[in-house]
């Protein structure tokens, strides 16, 4: 005769979840309690500061409450943070740029939309030039807006976008060069990649801003923004090259042999067989370098360009709005975070799909 046993301990539902995830061992219980106590201290205090006691409308720091956040500062400056010093009556051009960007990116990233190839082609081949022309103007009755007036989020997006798109073809070429059978080509590509990957972007930007004017004939004058962009592209293509090289290495040798045996030339085989597969494999990696570039665009402030961070930073020294550093940085941080987090989620989703 088997002794009657006690019923099994309940392990599902909320109590079971709590027990297994939060209170399974004494150490776990202590950890949970400590974290909860931390939340108890931090969350209400932050809520009070950021929402309950915050000031949303004011004309200067003095009108803001001393115990709450002064969002009025961000509110008043929002236009400048977005458009830089772009003339107000011309800002519809920037809006058009934002809209175009949103449509193209939405088209490429949202599932179940047809014609992604066309959207991608437009985004890579037409959009950068069209945007630049539209923002700069000087044709068809459009007022010319010099690049030193560009700034804020618009400049951040433009730098990231143009930097990424322009460095992509160079990166692919360098990756092919590094995998080439020709020793000189390989040596050149390897040296280029390793040199740019070994130095900080800040020195590359310094180089682009100080040395580039020395390299060209006297009468050629380079726009400051263009110089920064050249530096970013030189730097970024080395990183893209390494990502693409990873993809190339993942393609089985049989694929290379197959296109050769079909009688395709090197370039035909690469463009039609190898690269489409390789790039498809490394799209998540490319998105990740894009995130890095997006964050790195903030470095252009050391050579005197006013991207989003630089314009927030300069706004903080306005005597009317002194003492709003935390609010300014939180706002800029949130904007950067939204873009980067969005991209990283997209990259994760792609990784699962591929």
């Amino acid at each position: 005769m088997i002794e009657p046993r006690k019923p099994p301990v309940m392990n599902d539902g909320l109590p079971g979840w709590l027990k297994s995830r939060l209170f399974s061992t004494p150490l776990n219980t202590i950890t949970t309690l400590v974290i909860l106590y931390g939340f108890y201290l931090a969350v209400p205090a932050f809520w009070n500061w950021a929402v309950t006691e915050a000031t949303w409308q004011a004309s200067g720091s003095e009108e803001c409450s001393s115990s709450g956040a002064c969002w009025a500062f961000v509110n008043v400056r929002l236009n400048q943070f977005t458009y830089g010093f772009y003339p107000v009556d011309q800002q519809w051009r920037v809006d058009l740029f934002f809209l175009q960007l949103a449509v193209v990116i939405g088209w490429i990233t949202l599932p179940r939309l047809k014609g992604k190839g066309w959207a991608l082609a437009y985004g890579l081949l037409v959009m950068p030039f069209a945007s630049w022309a539209m923002l700069y103007g000087g044709f068809a009755g459009l007022q010319t807006i010099e690049t030193h007036l560009w700034g804020g989020l618009m400049l951040t997006l433009l730098l990231a976008l143009c930097g990424m798109i322009a460095s992509f073809p160079f990166g692919v070429l360098l990756a092919l060069g590094r995998r080439s059978k020709l020793p000189m080509v390989r040596a050149f590509s390897t040296a280029y990649i390793e040199i740019w990957r070994g130095v900080p972007l800040i020195t590359v930007l310094f180089m682009a801003s100080v040395m580039l004017p020395l390299f060209v004939p006297e009468n050629v004058v380079f726009d400051k923004l263009l110089r920064a962009l050249i530096g970013i592209v030189m730097f970024q293509s080395a990183y893209i090259a390494e990502v693409v090289r990873g993809g190339l290495q993942a393609i089985p040798k049989g694929q290379f042999e197959a296109f050769a045996s079909l009688g395709l030339s090197y370039w035909q085989g690469m463009i039609k067989i190898i690269l489409p597969q390789a790039i498809r494999l490394v799209i998540p990696g490319i998105v990740n370098t894009f995130i890095a570039l997006f964050k790195d665009t903030s470095l252009v402030l050391v050579i005197g360009l006013f991207d989003l961070l630089a314009i927030v930073q300069s706004g903080l020294s306005d005597p009317v709005w002194l003492g709003n550093a935390v609010e300014g940085y939180l706002f800029a941080g949130l904007v950067f975070w939204l873009f980067c987090f969005g991209m990283s989620q997209y990259s994760k989703r792609l990784e699962k799909q591929l």
Binding site: S24, V185, V199, T203, W337
Partner: protein, 394 residues
């Protein structure tokens, strides 16, 4: 028969892959040389019209500017060459401390994100997502201007236990000072270190030959490395004194000062890089299949031994290469110091020195060369270590 026209020869070369390769490569070299020549010509011409001399003579000229933090003796009368060294040392200082702090914090967060405690794991995940997705420069500014910038003035310093002061000019700590004949102390330290290295070498040979390890090597080495120099120092009369910071009328004097630029940079660099290291560590530990843990447990190993002998050695193989990249990133990112005025290499050399001398080409080239050298050295050592830990496959 020998009369082959030039045209057919060219066509033949073009069709032959070997010849085509040679042609293509020579073309590439020619283009690079031409572009290089053009650039050098332009640069020389431009420098001449601006009245800037070329060469490295400027390194011996007197610098004429001060630097807020130096590890070696320096004042305005020293040369630009000296400012280069000062900046380089400051870069090394912030990088090495940053690497240690980031590794420590990164491992902590990475392991926490795998915790069985749901709340702790979520918190670690939130840490990673938050700090990874915000530009480092913004984080540096945040710590420097929004946190350290609002500390009280030196007169109203925050004080802990009369020896640790915190104010807007930095953190003041007691500074350890050795008095007496310190050479015996350091001599003993070096001597013990050399003996231990020899012992490890012998131990490894012994293990290779007999398959057994020498007993108690680790405890012995740690204990002797600490105690023997201490005893030697004590016998020869070396004394350890603490130089305490003292609050004066306007400022603090004495002690060890950590300038706010350094503190902000260290905080931002290590918190930012730790978010990446945490992901590396998490991926590394997750890459060890659970079968390995179960097998080790089935052999009767305890939890700690399983971690130390089975999980971590295998995880390290996955962790080391991406970790190397993160270390290199941290070192390169330390150059953002220039934005808040911490006197690193980029700030004092590619910034101030360049502005004062106008020697753009030489200064930028030297700065880049230093970072390249650091990058290559670190990757070399990490690759050696990687080879040492890599799986032996046949």
């Amino acid at each position: 028969m020998l009369k082959v026209s030039f045209k057919t020869l060219l066509a033949k070369c073009w069709r032959d892959p070997v010849w085509r390769g040679v042609l293509f490569q020579n073309g590439l070299i020619l283009v690079i040389v031409l572009i290089g020549y053009q650039i050098i010509q332009n640069t020389l011409h431009n420098l001449e019209t601006r009245g800037i001399s070329t060469g490295f003579d400027f390194l011996s000229q007197s610098a004429g500017f001060g630097i807020i933090q130096t590890l070696i003796e320096y004042d305005e009368s020293f040369s630009f060459g000296r400012t280069f060294v000062v900046g380089f040392l400051n870069t090394l200082l912030v990088s090495s401390f940053g690497v240690v702090l980031a590794t420590f914090l990164g491992f902590l967060v990475g392991i926490a994100s795998l915790s069985s405690n749901w709340l702790l794991a979520r918190l670690a995940g939130a840490y990673v997502e938050c700090f990874r997705n915000i530009p480092l420069l913004l984080q540096i500014f945040f710590w420097y201007f929004a946190v350290l910038g609002v500390l009280p003035s030196p007169r109203e310093s925050l004080v802990w236990g009369d020896s640790l002061f915190l104010n807007v000019r930095g953190i003041y700590l007691p500074k350890p000072e050795l008095s007496g004949d310190t050479s015996i102390f350091f001599g003993a330290f070096v001597f013990v270190l050399l003996v231990l290295v020899a012992l490890i070498w012998v131990g490894r040979r012994y293990k290779r030959q007999s398959g057994r390890t020498l007993p108690a090597m680790k405890t012995l080495s740690v204990v002797s490395l600490i105690t023997i120099p201490l005893i030697a120092g004590w016998l020869s009369g070396v004394q350890l004194n603490w130089d305490l910071p003292v609050q004066g009328r306007f400022n603090l004097s004495g002690g060890l000062t950590l300038i706010p630029e350094l503190v902000a940079l260290l905080l931002a660099l290590s918190i930012y890089t730790a978010a990446f290291i945490a992901e590396v560590v998490r991926a590394g530990i997750q890459s060890v299949s659970s079968g390995q843990r179960e097998a080790a447990a089935a052999l009767g190993l305890r939890q700690g031994r399983i971690l130390k002998l089975v999980v971590i050695p295998q995880a390290m193989r996955v962790i080391i290469p991406p970790m190397t990249n993160q270390y290199l990133n941290l070192i390169k990112n330390s150059s953002l110091a220039t934005a808040i005025g911490y006197p690193d290499l980029v700030n004092v050399f590619a910034g101030t020195t360049l502005n004062q001398t106008g020697q753009a080409v030489e200064v930028i080239a030297m700065t880049m060369a230093v970072y390249l050298l650091i990058s290559l050295t670190v990757s070399l050592f990490m690759n050696l270590y990687n080879r040492y830990t890599a799986m032996v496959e046949r």
